[in-house]
Symmetry: C2
Amino acid sequence: MNQPIAFADSLRRPLPPALGTALRERFGERFSTAQAVREHHGRDESPFPTTPPEAVVFAQSTEDVVAVVDLCRAHAYPLIPYGAGSSLEGHLLAVHGGVSIDLSQMNRVLGIDAEDLTATVQAGVLRKQLNEELKSTGLFFPIDPGADASIGGMSATRASGTNAVRYGTMRENVLGLTVVTAEGKVVRTAGRAKKSAAGYDLTRLFVGSEGTLGVITEVTVRLYPLPEAISAAVCNFPSLAAAVNAVIQTIQLGVPIARSEFLCESTIAAINAYSNTTLREAPTLFFEFHGTESGVREQAELVQAIAREHGGQDFEWASRPEDRTRLWNARHSAYFACLQVRPGCRAISTDTCVPISRLADSITGARRILDTAKFPTMLLGHVGDGNFHAVLLVGPDDEREMAEAERLNDEIVRLALSMDGTCTGEHGIGLHKMGFLVEERGDDAIELMRRIKRALDPDNILNPGKIFTL
Amino acid sequence: MNQPIAFADSLRRPLPPALGTALRERFGERFSTAQAVREHHGRDESPFPTTPPEAVVFAQSTEDVVAVVDLCRAHAYPLIPYGAGSSLEGHLLAVHGGVSIDLSQMNRVLGIDAEDLTATVQAGVLRKQLNEELKSTGLFFPIDPGADASIGGMSATRASGTNAVRYGTMRENVLGLTVVTAEGKVVRTAGRAKKSAAGYDLTRLFVGSEGTLGVITEVTVRLYPLPEAISAAVCNFPSLAAAVNAVIQTIQLGVPIARSEFLCESTIAAINAYSNTTLREAPTLFFEFHGTESGVREQAELVQAIAREHGGQDFEWASRPEDRTRLWNARHSAYFACLQVRPGCRAISTDTCVPISRLADSITGARRILDTAKFPTMLLGHVGDGNFHAVLLVGPDDEREMAEAERLNDEIVRLALSMDGTCTGEHGIGLHKMGFLVEERGDDAIELMRRIKRALDPDNILNPGKIFTL
């Protein structure tokens, strides 16, 4: 079963004074131990209590990161990379103390190679900023978690979002990384060729390693030409199962749909209140189609026919770009909209992903499990991938509710695992899912991960206490 | 520069008699030390001399593999996984002696989950066999190296082929693996969910590890619905550069082409002789388009227009399925056709891959380098990925020609590396490209790979001497 998280004070190590002095000398005003700064770097979007680092350094270059790593290593003292602070599972909480390396000032797009459909960015570049800078090129970067996360953080958590069903996740869209290792070496994991069979896949090893194997300082990502035509639509269904089954059939037929998002009636209600929309409060799918004019028409007709078979209403089209933007902004703020349903609440969100044939069982099973909850719950997600989120809103200091929410969360995850699914499709393990990871992959697999961690970070200074225990 | 390969007898360790006895007891007739059997397992499609293992075991199950690993580990004796023997860089040569584990009898398709678009196979299943068994499902497995390789071997070398431009490589198409570790543990690296952010990406670590980190015994792969419409065409160009530039423009426009293969006039001549075809001996592209009827028509029209701009002749269509099969069989046998141009020759084939914008420079540069060769050379490849092969045919015992071929090979690889490319798009490192790997990724990256290797295989029993020196 999922492990309780140890936030024991005994784990925390204070900042060695000599390290503090050295960091201050090297970084001047870009080094801080101010309480407010530390607290800001000790919380993410997870329900965990703020767990601040002992100090924060604002890095501006890979060389800065090397300097921090070298100094921390000399004192065998932890360091924690920090991007936009939008992780959901406690990834960046300083449970062992440590120095937070804030990469938000490393926010330059280093190069856009439009002819190669690639861009290289510093780790602190935010996903919206990248797309802003791509505007004149006719290209875009599709990976879009709900938050405006940093590209480095998205790499570190193997993030995805609404476009993954068509364009893949960070796993498929990171071509190469610049990483500072625990020994302060700067390694470029790959060149810019689209494919390579040259040695171990270091890129994919660092993608999803949550800061535990190295500090990502630069990322080369794949870009895509903006489709000639885009259309988006909303469709209501008589039931959750009907909506999900429509998506399953769409995927099984191989329709190259760009987005297919499910939102339950409660999520729609939350969005309407938060984003000032007037969507019908019913189980709903948001669709988007990318392609040529005729390709998009063809896809849309096929998916409409499938939806109708499953009792879906007629598509309501978001034809104008501004309507589409409103629709997807509403979707991206769904998590924050849900939070507003119970002001001041803490949220637990599941993130299971199952083989597509099991999605209807998985999501209706989750609905059944949540029906017993005495607090608000919502279901939404990237159903085209088999991935959905249950959001459980518990009182801020209500330990009984929190325990109950964890119990329901456990049940939903275990149901997904029984279907050969995963406990996390895109949020990562962080602190919250360490127990689930063991359940999902087994001790022998975790032992391989531990060995890799020890081999690459023998002093355990890189974001210690995350993903698995050592 | 690329390292000379050490086939020194001093590296070879004889089979410990007690190990031989134990293996014979366990495997009976499925254990062999017969010269012919050993020699068969000591050569691949590389130009290297046969380097036989000391013994061969024919495994029929994951448990068999565990037994071999456990026995070899007890004697700290090497073992080398063997699939179809179609590797091109000496991957399976027993330079340290060792036991070859032949997986060809592990040839069962364990499950086809048509609804999930996945199949799970034993490692010895051949790619053509898998597609044969998929015939009734309306699905197919797209990865198609030239040879009829095993799915396990293709995973271990991160293979690709003609369809990679649309469907990706083994990197993208292996969902999960069952692996026997150096300690004889059986690890399943992932479930069947399409995406997961659960811990380190063990799947991608083993994909491309060339048998040095574990023995792959089962593979879960992604499948795709057979397209509603397929069309294929051949197009001649006035020059190599013109053909390549047509492909570059196609990729940059985002046309979702399924295949785009380049063949130089010498390759076409070799194919005509070998496959009894009557293709025009000119720089040529083979195209294939997948999609709906109208989608395929649209793609084909667009690519024809692009080809025309670059001086391409009208498309010659291979409309009937049997014409397409003939075309792609001819393409897949191109390597063997080239070998027949100089009977008894040895072949060196380059496998560089560069960012698409550099492909024309890379391939015309290779042509210029090869123009000085005094032996036959050909150019062909998966140009939509930026990947091509130069095939250099040297006399079987002509050391001067061999040295000259290696020198030209070096030049071609170095040109690709100067363009941020890779020394191998799909063949892997094996023995032949170990020096290039260091040049390409640098000592610090190789040191990370070494650490991972030592952590997962502390006794260095898994295919030792490959990818990098320890």
